[in-house]
C-alpha cells in the first residue's frame, strides 16, 4: 500500500516536472490518451521444467511493467508452474533471462496471483470478464474501469487459432475475442494492448472485433516462435526470442520516455527472431505513432495543471448546521401478517382403499391356507 503510494507520487512528480519544462510543446501529447489507471494481466500457460522459458518470458515482462510503475495491486500474474523452486533448478529461487545468469527476473518481490493449477482457461476468462465468485480476493481480480489501459501478455505453446493451457485444455481465438467484447460492453477497458509470444501467435488476434484493441504477436500463422539461448548450467532454454528482444527494448524505457508504438512494432525483425512478428492496429482508434509505450507498460498518472492559486492557510468555514432529523427506531414491519404463512406440513398417509385392499388380501390368503373352517368363528 505504501509502496503503491510512493510509486504513484514519484510518477506524478516526474510528470508534473516534465510538463513544466515542456509545457507548450507537449501538452497536446500529454492529454491525448484518456486513461487514468493501468492494469496488466500476464499469463504463462505451460507447466513442466522444460517450459522454463515461458515463465522467464512472463517474469521479464512483469519486471519491466513493475519497474515502469504499475504496482502489484494492478498486476494479475498467472504462472502455471513454479520454476524458481522446482527441484530441477540448479540455482534455486532464481529465474534467469540471460545466459550466464546476468539477469535474475525473479527477484525479491514477485507476487504471483494465480499459481500452478489455478491457471486455467476458465480462471483466465473469469479474470478478464470479472465474473469471479464473491470470495475471490482483490489481488486475484482485474478491477479495471472504463478509464483503464490494460496490457495482456500471453505466452506458452500455441497453434493456429488456439493456445494450450496446462497441457490439457485450450483457449481459442474466438473465445478470446468474445471475452474482449464482453470487456468492452461492460466498459472494463479504455484501451487494450494484447501481446502474445507463442507459435503461430498471429492467429490469436485474427478474430478480434471490439474497438480499441491493439495486438502484437511473435509469429505469423504457419510459423513457429523460437527460443533464444539455452543455458548449459541450468540445462534449458531461458527465453523466447521475441520476448528477449522485447525485454532488451523495454530496458531502455523509463517512465518519462516518449517512445511510441511504432518502435515497438519494429522489435525483433526477422533477422533476429527467425519468425515474422505481426501486429494489428485496425481496431485502435488513435494513431499508433501517438501512443506511448508507457501508456500500457507504465503507470503514468495524469495531472491537471491549473494557474489559479489555492489558499490553504485560511480557516475552513464550517458548513451551516442543517436541521438534522433525530434518528428513531422504525417499527418492524408486521412481516408475518404480510407474507403467507407456510402451510402446515401434512404427513403422508397411505390411501384408505389401499389399506383395505391389502389387509383383505392377507386375510383371504390366511384363510385359504389354514382352512375355511376358521371363518365360521367370525360369521
Amino acid at each position: 500500500m505504501l509502496a503503491n503510494l510512493v510509486l504513484s507520487f514519484n510518477c506524478t512528480y516526474l510528470a508534473v516536472l516534465l510538463s513544466f519544462i515542456r509545457f507548450n510543446k507537449h501538452v497536446g501529447n500529454f492529454f491525448s490518451s484518456q486513461h487514468t489507471n493501468n492494469w496488466a494481466v500476464l499469463v504463462c500457460t505451460s507447466r513442466f521444467w522444460f517450459n522454463y522459458r515461458h515463465v522467464a518470458n512472463t517474469l521479464s515482462v512483469y519486471r519491466s511493467v513493475k519497474r515502469l510503475g504499475i504496482p502489484d495491486s494492478h498486476i494479475v500474474l498467472m504462472l502455471a508452474d513454479d520454476m524458481a523452486c522446482n527441484h530441477r533448478n540448479p540455482k534455486p529461487a532464481t529465474v534467469f533471462s540471460h545466459k550466464n545468469m546476468e539477469l535474475n527476473v525473479y527477484g525479491d518481490d514477485v507476487e504471483v496471483d494465480y499459481r500452478g493449477y489455478e491457471v486455467t482457461v476458465e480462471n483466465f476468462l473469469r479474470v478478464l470478464t470479472g465474473r469471479l465468485p464473491p470470495s475471490t480476493p482483490r489481488s486475484k481480480r482485474l478491477l479495471s474501469d472504463d478509464r483503464s489501459n490494460i496490457l495482456i501478455y500471453l505466452t506458452g505453446h500455441g497453434g493456429n487459432g488456439f493456445l494450450k493451457f496446462q497441457d490439457s485444455e485450450e483457449i481459442s481465438n474466438v473465445e478470446l475475442a468474445d471475452a474482449f467484447e464482453q470487456m468492452w460492453q461492460k466498459r472494463r477497458y479504455n484501451e487494450l494492448l494484447f501481446i502474445i509470444d507463442t507459435c503461430q501467435g498471429a492467429s490469436m488476434y485474427e478474430r478480434f472485433y471490439s474497438p480499441n484493441l491493439m495486438a502484437l504477436a511473435s509469429s505469423q500463422v504457419g510459423e513457429d516462435s523460437l527460443s533464444h539461448q539455452p543455458d548449459l548450467a541450468i540445462g534449458v532454454h531461458l527465453m523466447d526470442r521475441y520476448t528477449f528482444y522485447l525485454l532488451e527494448f523495454l530496458e531502455d524505457i523509463h517512465p518519462a520516455s516518449k517512445t511510441n508504438m511504432n518502435d515497438l512494432f519494429k522489435v525483433c525483425p526477422k533477422s533476429q527472431c527467425v519468425s515474422t512478428p505481426g501486429h494489428r492496429t485496425d481496431l485502435f482508434l488513435r494513431d499508433p505513432g501517438s501512443v506511448l509505450i508507457t501508456d500500457f507498460f507504465g503507470s503514468v498518472r495524469k495531472v491537471e495543471l491549473t494557474t489559479d492559486a489555492i489558499n490553504l492557510t485560511e480557516p475552513i468555514t464550517p458548513v451551516e448546521d442543517q436541521e438534522k432529523e433525530p434518528y428513531s427506531y422504525v417499527d418492524q414491519l408486521p412481516v408475518s401478517e404480510i407474507i403467507h404463512q407456510k402451510p402446515k406440513q401434512k404427513d403422508w398417509h397411505p390411501p384408505d382403499g389401499f389399506i383395505l385392499g391389502l389387509w383383505t388380501l392377507i386375510i383371504l390368503v390366511f384363510f385359504r391356507t389354514y382352512g375355511v373352517k376358521h371363518l365360521k368363528h367370525i360369521f
Binding site: Q345, K346, D347, W348, H349, P350, P351, G353, F354, G357, L358, L361, V365, R368, T369
Partner: protein, 435 residues
Amino acid sequence: MAAPLTLLLIVAVSIRLFLFRSSLVGLIAERVEVVSPLNAWKRVIEGLALLDLGVSPYSGDVFHETPLIIYLFHFVVDYAEITFMLADAITAVALYLAVKDYNTQVLKKQRLELEADRYPMDCLELVRSPKQMYYIPLKVAMFYLLNPFTILSCVAKSTCGLNNAVLALFFLFTIKKNTLLSAIFLALATYQSIYPITLCAPAMLYVMQRQYIPVNYRWASFWWFVAQYLFMYLGSLSVIVFLSFFLLGSWDYVPSVYGFILSVPDLTPNIGLFWYFFAEMFEHFRLFFLCVFQINIFFYTIPLSIKLKDQPVFLMFMQLAVISIFKSYPTVGDLALYLAFLPVWSHLHRFLRNIFLVTCVLIACSALFPVLWHLWIYAGSANSNFYYAITLLFNVAQILLVSDYFYAFLRREHHLTYGLYLKKKDGSEATLVLK
C-alpha cells in the same frame, strides 16, 4: 430343538443390539460393500421425507425401493432396528423349519431307495443317518444369524435383510408343499428385485416331486401344475404391482425400481461386476453389454434345471448363488443367504476340492475391501483397478465355491449309482472329472 434355537436367537439379537448402540453404526451404514443404491437405509429415509413434503419419493434418483417398503416403514420407521432384527430372526426360523422338513424328506427318500436296493454295496458309507443330520437345521440358523455379513447388513439397516426374509419364507412354504403361499412370497421377492423369477423353476420342480407329478413334458398333469403355479405367481405379482400403483397413485416406481435394476445407471463401486465395466463402456456398446450381463443371470436356469431336475433344493441353492454373484447391485447380505445353506450339504465335504483356497480367498478379500477402499478414496495412492481386482477375486472365489459344491454333489450322486471305488476297465483306480 426349540431351546437351542431360542438361545441362538437371543445371542444373535444381543450381538446386533450391542452393535446398534455402538459408534460403528454410522461407519457400517455407509460402506459400499454392505449397502447399495437399491437397499440403503439412508435412501429409505430420504424417500419418506420426500413423501412427507408432498413430492413423489421416486423423483430425483434417490429412492429405489418398492412402494410396499414405503408403506411398511411409514409406520415402523421409529422401530426400524427392531424390524430388521425381526426380519433376521424370521429368516433364521424359516430356514430352520424348512431344512428340518427337507431333512425328513431326504431321509424318507433314502430309505425307499435302500429298501429298493438301489445303492451298490460299497457306497454304504455315503448313506446319511438321522443322527448325522440332527444338528443341521440349527447349524443353518447359526450360519445365517452369526455370519458377520448378516450382522453387518442388519446393523446397516439395509433392506436386503427384508428381501432375505421374504426369500426364506418362500423357501419354507415351498418345502411345506404350500403352492399358493410359495407363489405369493416368490411374487413378493420378484417384486422387490427382479432376479428371483428364476427361482420359479426349482420351486415348481420341488412341489411336483412332492406331489408325485412326473417331470415330463408329455404328461398333462405336468402342464396343468405348471399352469396353476404360474397363474398363482403371475396373478399375485400383478395384484402386488397394482396395489403399489394405488398406494402412491402413479407408475413412477416402475422405472425407478425395475428400470434402475435393469439399466444400471448408478455406477457406485460395490462388490459386483457391473460398475467397473460400465464405467469405461462406450455409449454405443452399452445396451449390448447390459443385455449380456443381465442375461447371464437368467441363462443358467434352464440347463441347471434339466441337469438337477431330481434335486430341486440344490438347484435352488445354486440359483440363489448365481443371483447373488451376478446381480446388478450385490451386497454382502445377499451372500449371507446362500452361505446359510452350506450346512445342508455338509455330507459333501469329502468330495470338495478347493474349500481351503476358497475360504482363504473369501476371508482375505473381505479384509482387503476396506483397506483398498481407503487407499483409493482417502489416501489417493491406489485407484479403482485395485478395488475392482479384489471384487473380481471375491466373485471368482464365490463361483469356485458354488462350482465346487456342484462337483461334489454330482460326484456323490454318481458314486451312489456306480459304487464308491470306481475301477477302470483294466482294474486300476479311476478318477472322476467334471467336464
